[in-house]
Every structure is written in structure tokens, then in C-alpha cells.
Symmetry: none
Subunit: 211 residues, 2 copies
């Protein structure tokens, strides 16, 4: 491998997509595909001992979600650029990825030209979007203008359990915590979302894809 090549890793749980990306990128002599992975564990393990320039990362993965994984990758190897490749077009998701250090966001219907252009763009330090994504982020909806609050790990965990219909006592049992602690977290969650009861909390959480 000549040193001037761009080292690329692909993370996607769909073999077809991996194959597609690989075959698209192999046409370009400047790209070298160092590895392909079907889950988060695989890529995290790989970057511990291998330098990678670009990671093409799917949002939905079997063992974790791409948004969290992106954060993790940027924390461990900040010099690696992450380009998200997803079929989710919700603005909130795109924004979260950028927040977590992603250098770009492409929908899966992106063309080959968009893909290669994005990689070159990301290498130059730009944040890159496919055409469709650009449109989505350019017009924030009224709802999203408020922005959704940033939740802690624990809060996300408890929010999920609340949407599953579990009571504070049940959650406390499951997490080996005091029910009073769960109540505090619920209180904080409602305060962050600006709502007054569980019903609104769940509705917003589902609408914002936070669960």
C-alpha cells in the first residue's frame, strides 16, 4: 500500500451495503479499504491498533447505535474522520451526529459522486452533507427550533424504561437504586423537556427518536 492512499474503514450491519461501498470505492486508486465491520465492537477493536483516516459509519448497528459509537471513536482517535451513512432523515438525528463529532452525513440513496466528494471534503476538514441532507438541515421545524435538551446517560436509560411502562419502583429494582433517585431523574427529565407529566414526556421522546 502506498502511503498517500486514504485509509478507510466501513461499519455497517448489512453485507450488501458493505459490498456496495467497497466496490464503489475500489474504483478510486486513492482509496484503501483497511477493513469492514458489522458492529461497534469490531471497529473499536480495530482502531486500537490501526490508523484510519475515514470511517464510514451506519447509524443502526446490532450492538450499539452509530451516534454513540461516533462519539466513542472521536474520543479515542480524534484525528479519524467519521462520515455517517444512514437512511434516517430526521433532523434531530443528523444534528446529534454532528454534535458528536461526525464530519458528514449521507443518506443511503447518495450517489457515488456524493460519496467520493464527501470523503475528500472530510479529509480537507469540512463537514459534508449529501444534497438531500443539506435541504433537511437548512429548514429547521418549529418544534426542533427549541432544540432538545442534552440528556445524561442515566437519564436516557431511565427515559427508555419509563416509556416501557415501568414504574419508579420497578426501575429502581432493576438498576439497584432507590426509588427516590428514579423520581429525581424523572423530575429532571420533565424539567429538561419542559413538561408536567409522563404522558408528554413519552410523546416527545418518541417523536424526537430519543428512545
Amino acid at each position: 500500500m502506498s502511503p498517500e492512499k486514504v485509509i478507510i474503514a466501513i461499519v455497517d450491519d448489512h453485507p450488501v451495503v458493505i459490498q456496495g461501498l467497497k466496490s464503489m470505492l475500489q474504483n478510486d486508486q486513492f482509496f484503501y479499504i483497511a477493513g469492514t465491520f458489522i458492529d461497534g465492537k469490531g471497529i473499536l477493536n480495530f482502531i486500537r491498533s490501526n490508523a484510519v483516516d475515514i470511517i464510514l459509519l451506519d447509524i443502526t448497528l446490532p450492538d450499539t447505535n452509530g451516534i454513540e459509537l461516533c462519539k466513542e471513536i472521536k474520543r479515542k482517535t480524534p484525528h479519524t474522520s467519521v462520515i455517517m451513512i444512514s437512511n434516517r432523515s430526521e433532523r434531530s438525528i443528523i444534528m446529534q451526529c454532528i454534535q458528536n463529532g461526525a464530519s458528514g452525513y449521507l443518506l443511503k440513496n447518495a450517489t457515488m459522486n456524493e460519496l467520493t466528494a464527501s470523503i475528500h471534503g472530510a479529509l480537507s476538514g469540512n463537514i459534508v452533507f449529501s444534497e438531500e441532507v443539506k435541504e433537511i438541515i437548512s429548514k429547521p421545524s418549529v418544534k426542533e427550533l427549541i432544540g432538545f435538551p442534552r440528556l445524561t446517560k442515566r437519564e436516557k436509560e431511565i427515559l427508555k424504561m419509563v416509556t416501557e411502562g415501568k414504574t419508579s419502583v420497578m426501575i429502581a429494582d432493576e438498576l439497584f437504586l432507590s426509588p427516590l433517585t428514579i423520581d429525581t431523574h424523572r423530575k429532571n427529565l420533565m424539567h429538561k423537556f419542559g413538561v408536567n407529566n409522563t404522558a408528554e414526556l413519552i410523546k416527545i421522546a418518541i417523536q424526537q427518536n430519543m428512545i
Copy 2:
């Protein structure tokens, strides 16, 4: 092209997926890819003047949905086998496809082996599924067995207001009813859905698109 080759067409709105399928199938000397299409119009037009053995068909397409398209294809060219390729794993969707004449259903995380095996299987007149799909169709979910309950007009109205975060008192005020009446309706709603609290009620209602 030698006549004994299997003539294949691919329909998917994601260039990456098309590329992936193509590159997977090109390794097999018995397969000939006659065309790739990103929408329903394209393939319908193509089969008017070209014989095709197998169509790999995505569920989600820009101009129509794969389920209807499958029906249309089978109506026009019954000798062509359609294999659905989708990332939707809902039992109801899979069943509809089979109903509409599909010869198989693969999830997008299917392996290359599953793909080629499915094509050969479909050519032999079998209906083929990837492993994961087999599991899904073998065990109907509890939810689907029960089916979702029939709600009365009033119940739907109150369910909607509950999901908006309104308390029984607020709803009662708005509808000029006793709060106790609202409680009864909520009780009946929960009973019909088989849940124990508002959280589960809302989650199910949203998931079933009842609100």
C-alpha cells in the same frame, strides 16, 4: 450472453445497495444482470420488452411501494420471480408480499450465501426466506395475535387527549364531563390494550398509529 444464464434485474433506490448486489452477483458466472432501476416506473417499463427471470425488489421506493409493485409485476409477467429485499421486519409486511406473489423475502442484512441460495431456490419454484425472516414468520407476536382493539369514538378522543399530556380533570373540563367519567374511559382503554399505566398506553397508541 449465453442463454443458460439467470437474467436478473435489481430495483432499489439506494445506489450503494444496487452496487453491492451487483458486485455480489457478478462473482457468479450463472447470473446475468440485465438492468438496475431506482424506481417502479423503470422496472415496469423494462419488463415490457425484456424477459427477466428474477427481480430483486426493495420495499421502499420513491414512486411506489414494493408490495404493490410486486403485485403489478406478477400480473404482467407471472413467469418472473420476485424476491423482496427489505430492512422492514414486520410480519404483516412479509405476509403481504407473499400474498402478492413474491417468491422470497430477505432482510438487508442477508449474507451473500443467503442471496445466491435464495435466487436458486426461487428459480426452482420455492418460496425462500433468510434465516431471520424464517424466525419472524414462525412466531406471530403477541401483539399481532390479539390484534389491536376496536375503540369507540369517545375512547379515541380521550386517548388522543391523554397522549397530549392532559390530566383527567383537564379533559373533563374540555369535554364538559365528570372527571370520573374520564377515569372510566381511561380504565377501559387500558383494559382493551392490556396495559397497566398511561406510559404503556401511549407507547402502544403511537406505535399502532392510533393517534
